[in-house]
Symmetry: C2
Amino acid sequence: VSVALTPPSVILVRPQLGQNVGMAARAMANFGLTDLRIVAPREGWPNEWAIKAASGADWVLEEARLFDTVTEAVADMHYLVATTARQREMLKPVVTAEAAATEMRAKTAQGLRCGILFGPERSGLENDDVTLAQAVLRIPVDARFTSINLAQAVLLVGYEWFKSADATPPEVLDPGHTWPANNAELVGLFEHLERELDTAGFLFPPEKRPAMVRNLRNIFIRANMMEQEVRALRGVVTSLATARRKKEAG
Amino acid sequence: VSVALTPPSVILVRPQLGQNVGMAARAMANFGLTDLRIVAPREGWPNEWAIKAASGADWVLEEARLFDTVTEAVADMHYLVATTARQREMLKPVVTAEAAATEMRAKTAQGLRCGILFGPERSGLENDDVTLAQAVLRIPVDARFTSINLAQAVLLVGYEWFKSADATPPEVLDPGHTWPANNAELVGLFEHLERELDTAGFLFPPEKRPAMVRNLRNIFIRANMMEQEVRALRGVVTSLATARRKKEAG
């Protein structure tokens, strides 16, 4: 049996501001979430503030579905996560956004439908809504300021969802058409520079020369240069040396 | 020497909308960032839209500093990260938000000042601003919709900063005043239930009894119950069985 893998649905329960719905839609689009469900939005639906705030993520809003109750909105869900900032007196696993993403990734890969419930801006989800969920998602925040904007909560959950299957390496060099310099190229630059500095009388007195050379080499080694940058610096050395010779000759 | 460890500064370069500055301040407060620097904001400063959007993170806005140029705003920085959505033709490491957080955490622990540059909403940072930074931060997003709102970019960077030193376990049970049931308590429930089901004639015929018992036990094992939940279910079994007996007797 071939199963279509559907990313998790975002279910906004009684959102107060259309603007937040629009910004949530934009955040969803950033991270590949497309199924938006809206339960009894206070400002009605469709909403022009939502469209403005979506900044081009129109298709998410156009395909959004409206429901009267949470029960109807989550009827087809197999794994439901309820976001909440408050501690609830419920015997239910409390997970981070990252752990929720990992779990939803695993469920989705089995063909199961996952959804994340977000409550109204001011009050959050009601306990009866939270009870329908398999887990409670609480985003770790600074205890001195715990109030997260609705759309920003959607963003963080979407971000972790996307990240859980993203292969971007932690660090890369912007792809240039060049390659890191090898040691021979570096030593070529070093010896070129040191030759010119000997000529100029900079590496003096002789007993201090070895330490001075090492210090200079360490600067350039730390810069992790590319081939073309080594060539550019050799040009710089030549240019400065030639200018000095001309001045001395002139 | 005792060094005060200062969390990274957020530097908003020529932001267009006060509302985004305010939402950025709120996102900063969520994740323990407090030093906001603003370079030549289009709508001027202070800004009432910013205050409204900060939703109570007023101290971040009140302590924000205004600068005319990026060079002045970052003068005291030792490690600077430039956020950008576009590929730049620059030989500079490109890092994820998570990698940037790890690096800034390490630098900060050494007493070095770190900062994150964010460009104007529409155009992003100029190449000359990016050049001042040690690394480029590019948040991995869905290629079909790459435009991230300014405040949401600040939120994601702040989130990774906070997360890099956060010890919240991926999953916990909400702290109840109870404890997971041990095996003896579970078997006590199972045998209670099976005794009543034998009396009621449900576990029939006898050759099917072992499989039926195993199936029922598996349901309750998967529920990972707490002590008090096991006691509650024993109450449920007793209640149902008593009601049946009364009905039969009546």
